[in-house]
């Protein structure tokens, strides 16, 4: 299918991207420590943080993934929408408190602190890469699929464009920019 780019849509997209890049650069100047990068200095209000979590939850992967699974697998797909919520319960009741007590930012950090083993390092790294890959592929495909009808660009350009913007946001200011953007 061939899409024609709407100048209005392009203008909104460019304005949005510029605003996002400016915000990330602004937060990057304030991010000078690991606490600033991983936890935004601990200054984010719980309500704002909750909205950011909800925003992450309602991502392209969730919307398109769950809708797609229901479309292709019917009721079996619906089960996934319940299943991945259960992960938050595990994080809240089992993981959050001990990790905060350990004073670590990531699960790998916490494991390293507890066991200090190269095997654990390697397993955590491989597991992180596999999970990230499985999460990012549908996310990027979703982003590319949205950019094509909106801006008339080829799918791969949308993937590269959105991927580059996301990398910039995360790499510059970490938690602060991912929360507010």
């Amino acid at each position: 299918m061939i899409y024609n780019a709407s100048p209005f849509a392009v203008a909104i997209f460019v304005a949005f991207v510029l605003a996002v890049l400016w915000m990330s650069s602004f937060f990057a100047k304030k991010t000078t420590t690991s606490k600033g990068y991983y936890a935004a200095g601990g200054d984010i209000h719980w309500g704002v943080n909750g909205i950011a979590f909800a925003g992450d939850y309602l991502s392209a992967a969730s919307f398109l993934g769950i809708c797609g699974m229901i479309a292709f697998s019917g009721y079996d797909g619906f089960l996934y929408s319940i299943g991945y919520l259960a992960g938050w319960v595990v994080a809240l009741f089992i993981v959050a408190e001990p990790m905060k007590r350990l004073g670590k930012y990531t699960f790998t950090d916490a494991l390293n602190n507890k066991y200090n083993s190269r095997g654990i390092h390697l397993t955590a790294a491989i597991s992180t890469l596999i999970v990230s890959l499985c999460y990012l592929v549908p996310q990027m495909v979703g982003a590319g699929s949205l950019v094509t009808p909106l801006l008339g660009m080829p799918h791969y350009v949308g993937v590269i464009l959105v991927g580059a913007i996301v990398i910039f946001i995360v790499a510059t200011a970490g938690m602060a920019s991912t929360t507010y953007v």
Partner: protein, 96 residues
């Protein structure tokens, strides 16, 4: 490898035992309710078609019920843990 400093600068927390136990019990409760959902889906999927509330079938009611339950349990956990922290750690501070 240098690593980073602690992410949180907490003093001694007397409520940690309570919070850990409460978290495990709430988690166990949620797991049991969740297993019920999965069990019905596997053992008797047709049961999920039964209309149970406001014209909605059991699948929708139970599924959204699980989401609501997680939300409610999260709030309960937060309130109980905060109260316990205030109670025990305040008592500790006043004893000094």
């Amino acid at each position: 490898m240098g690593g980073h400093g602690p992410s949180t600068d907490w003093g001694e927390d007397k409520a940690i035992g309570f919070k850990t136990t409460l978290g495990l019990w709430l988690f166990l409760l949620y797991v049991l309710v969740y297993i019920g959902f999965i069990w019905i889906n596997v053992a008797s999927p047709e049961t999920m078609e039964v209309k149970v509330f406001a014209g909605q079938n059991l699948a929708v009611v139970y599924g959204f019920g699980l989401i609501a339950l997680a939300f409610v349990m999260g709030i309960i956990y937060d309130i109980l843990c905060t109260n316990k922290e205030d109670e025990l750690n305040e008592k500790e501070d006043s004893d000094k």
